[in-house]
């Protein structure tokens, strides 16, 4: 898979993986942390979350300007990593130093967003520059698929790391994780005269209805807590908060790892780490002829228009796609059966899921006609060990395991990691036959695939008219389809931006791509508000409709987009 790629790609891959691991570790617990620490309800936490995500994806525009005009890519990326480290440490501090911290939280979120703004788009731009070399240029799309895999390896392990740190802190006080306790503690700590009365009313008419005090007492009994109720509602959230702070500290450490990788292996990307402005300055300083690519204003305008049109369309993709952390998680919690069979649970426990995937990979290696004897032996080994470990994990499962809604989040990154080699192989196979679709066409196909993913949800929602919960395979199927769509759209889109952006705006253009993601995130929140207003199937039908319209739009402007990516890079002013 790495044949025909420069070594600098691996540096970008690992630096990005480290940064994304930290980011997703933080993100996995961020809303829960806000609720546990400040007693926020979902809407208040959502405001912080939405603002932060907007900053994360919008500030790369500023990062792009800083790199293009002032510092260059490498320095801006390194500076961004240091800023992110400071931000994550600030975020970790209230839990450890008992600081009162809404202001600290806001400052640290801004600092992290700023650091990410300096880092993210510019690393993409630098990766794109590695492929300006004609020797590597044909592999640009595939390179971004591989680069994208790094993001998702980081994202896959992050929630498990966050959960691990939190559980470790809780177990120190003989507590176990129970997501509802912070909310119940908040209800217990402050007066709720109206909710109390209403609970009593429902309790009088339906058996088994519990008050928050009863529920908290139930948890105290389960955890063998020796103290009183007041002590429990103070100690549990405080310990949980420290656990969250520990996870933020892990995020900070992973920024350091990313920085070390990026600076230690500079020699592999140093040649590409130069902006057009720096090239001009260097030429002037050395008294040499300015050999930078000059593009006519008209050509630049044509390219910027093409980029703008793509940005508008992909905003709709992110709007639909980012329902995964929002309404799809609510769907997982409220409309998906949580008691599953031990076989189903194989896909939700890392101890069984990873070996299972290794066994599948082994089987593919074993059965592949082109595999060498050595590879067949490795495949056989993976199959036996993977299947054995999966079976061992299976034998340890309870009779009726329960799945937590957030566990569905791990399907997207793991599908990316395992589908990327297949998609890259598929595109390479098509290219050899002269049938590989152009980047804009891949983006358009990705939009239709997104619609297909939500058709699955819409069909499932129809079935909910007569049952309480759907099988988890409905959501897994949707995640699979959305992941294939993402692989057609996101890495290819980044590659398209790298290819089409006028050289003097490389960093800014990547920032623009992330800015479109920011707008998509905002739209995701807005559309998500319809969840409680319309029927569930109507909600998914709306997403199907919007993504189909976006797909049609992309194909309607295909000529403009394809002309922009084909146009002569060396056209002189």
């Amino acid at each position: 898979m790495l044949k025909g790629h420069p070594k600098g790609l691996l540096v970008a891959f690992f630096a990005n993986m480290g940064e994304r691991f930290g980011y997703y570790t933080m993100l996995a617990i961020f809303v829960l942390y806000l609720q546990a620490n400040f007693g926020f309800n979902a809407s208040q936490a959502g405001d912080y979350y939405g603002g932060f995500l907007f900053g994360i994806y919008f500030l790369p525009i500023l990062g792009g300007i800083v790199a293009d005009r002032l510092l260059g890519y490498g320095k801006t990326i390194a500076l961004g990593t240091v800023i992110m480290f400071v931000g994550y440490m600030l975020l970790a501090s209230p839990g450890f130093f008992a600081m009162q911290g809404k202001v600290i939280i806001i400052i640290s979120l801004f600092v992290i967003s700023l650091g990410t703004g300096f880092f993210k788009g510019n690393l993409q731009a630098l990766t794109g520059k590695l492929y300006d070399d004609p020797k590597f240029a044909p592999n640009r799309d595939n390179a971004f698929n591989i680069f994208y895999m790094g993001i998702n390896i980081g994202a896959f392990f992050a929630p498990h790391a966050a959960t691990g740190v939190v559980n470790w802190m809780l177990s120190g006080k003989n507590f176990s994780y129970e997501s509802t306790i912070p909310h119940l503690s908040n209800l217990q700590a402050t007066p709720h005269p109206f909710l109390d009365k209403m609970t009593n009313t429902v309790q009088a008419n339906f058996a088994g209805v519990q008050t928050y005090t009863e529920k908290l007492q139930h948890f105290m009994g389960e955890m063998n807590f020796a103290g009183g109720l007041q002590e429990f509602i103070t100690e549990y959230p405080t310990t949980l908060s420290k656990g969250y702070s520990g996870a933020f500290a892990v995020a900070a450490i992973s920024m350091l790892v990313s920085l070390i990788i990026f600076t230690a292996f500079r020699k592999y990307y140093k040649h590409a780490d130069i902006t057009e402005k720096q090239k001009q300055q260097k030429a002037a300083k050395e008294g040499k002829k300015d050999e930078t690519v000059k593009m006519s204003k008209e050509e630049e305008k044509k390219r910027l228009v093409a980029l703008g049109l793509v940005f508008v369309t992909v905003a709709f993709f992110w709007m639909a796609f980012h329902q995964n952390g929002f309404t799809l998680t609510i769907f997982a919690r409220d409309f998906t059966v949580s008691d599953v069979s031990r076989f189903d649970y194989l896909f939700f426990d890392l101890r069984s899921f990873l070996p299972l995937l290794a066994a599948i990979g082994g089987l593919i290696l074993l059965l592949r006609r082109k595999s060498s004897t050595r590879n067949k032996a490795i495949g056989g080994g993976l199959l036996v060990v993977g299947a054995g470990l999966a079976y061992w994990a299976y034998s340890t499962f309870a009779a009726n395991p329960k799945i937590e809604p957030q566990l569905f989040q791990h399907f997207n990154p793991i599908f990316i990691v395992f589908l990327t080699p297949l998609i890259v192989g598929f595109f390479t196979w098509l290219r050899k036959r002269g049938k590989e679709p152009t980047s804009p066409r891949k983006i358009g196909i990705g939009m239709f695939l997104t619609a297909a993913g939500f058709v699955v949800m819409m069909t499932g929602a129809f079935k909910l008219q007569s049952m309480t919960g759907l099988s988890p395979y409905w959501l897994i199927g949707t995640y699979l389809t959305l992941t294939v769509a993402e692989l057609f759209l996101s890495p290819i889109g980044i590659s398209f931006v790298a290819k089409v952006a006028p050289p003097r705006f490389s960093g800014l253009a990547q920032g623009g791509w992330l800015g479109a993601t920011a707008i998509g995130n905002l739209l995701a929140g807005l559309v998500g508000k319809l969840w409680d207003i319309v029927e569930i199937w109507q909600f998914f039908a709306l997403l199907v409709g919007l993504t189909i319209l976006s797909g049609i739009f992309i194909f309607s402007i295909m000529r403009i987009l394809e002309n922009a990516s084909k146009s002569d890079q060396t056209s002189q002013e």
């Binding site: 909310h183 402050t190 909710l195 519990q210 007569s466």
Partner: protein
Amino acid sequence: MRLIVISSLLAGMIFMAGCGSETPMKDMRSAAKEIDKIEQQSKQVQNKEEAFTVLRDLNGAMKDVRESALTLDEKYSDMKAGSEEFQKAKQSEDFQQTMQEFNKIRSDIDASLAAISKNLEPYKDDKEVKKMLEKLQTLLISR
């Protein structure tokens, strides 16, 4: 033309998302009306599937009730449960008036819930109906 299509889509979405709540008491009243309708629906229940649908709708309406109650409670979120400050607030005219209005709506909901519970009694052992009832048991205290 394309710009018009995109702008209309965006504007439409923002408008629809903005169709939210008015005041907690109004929301509570409209939820009570909804629960009254569900009560009428529960009188016609003939089988477990219909019982399931009634409970599903009831859970939906009770979520609105929960949100309204929590919004009314927000006024006291800076106080401690059982504190003198809260005891004082409870004596205020504003609290008494709100509680009086709330109690009127609550007694309507109470009557509807009693009827619904009775009408669904024959189906309470069905697996799917049971699951819906379990959801109702913790609905008011979950988020």
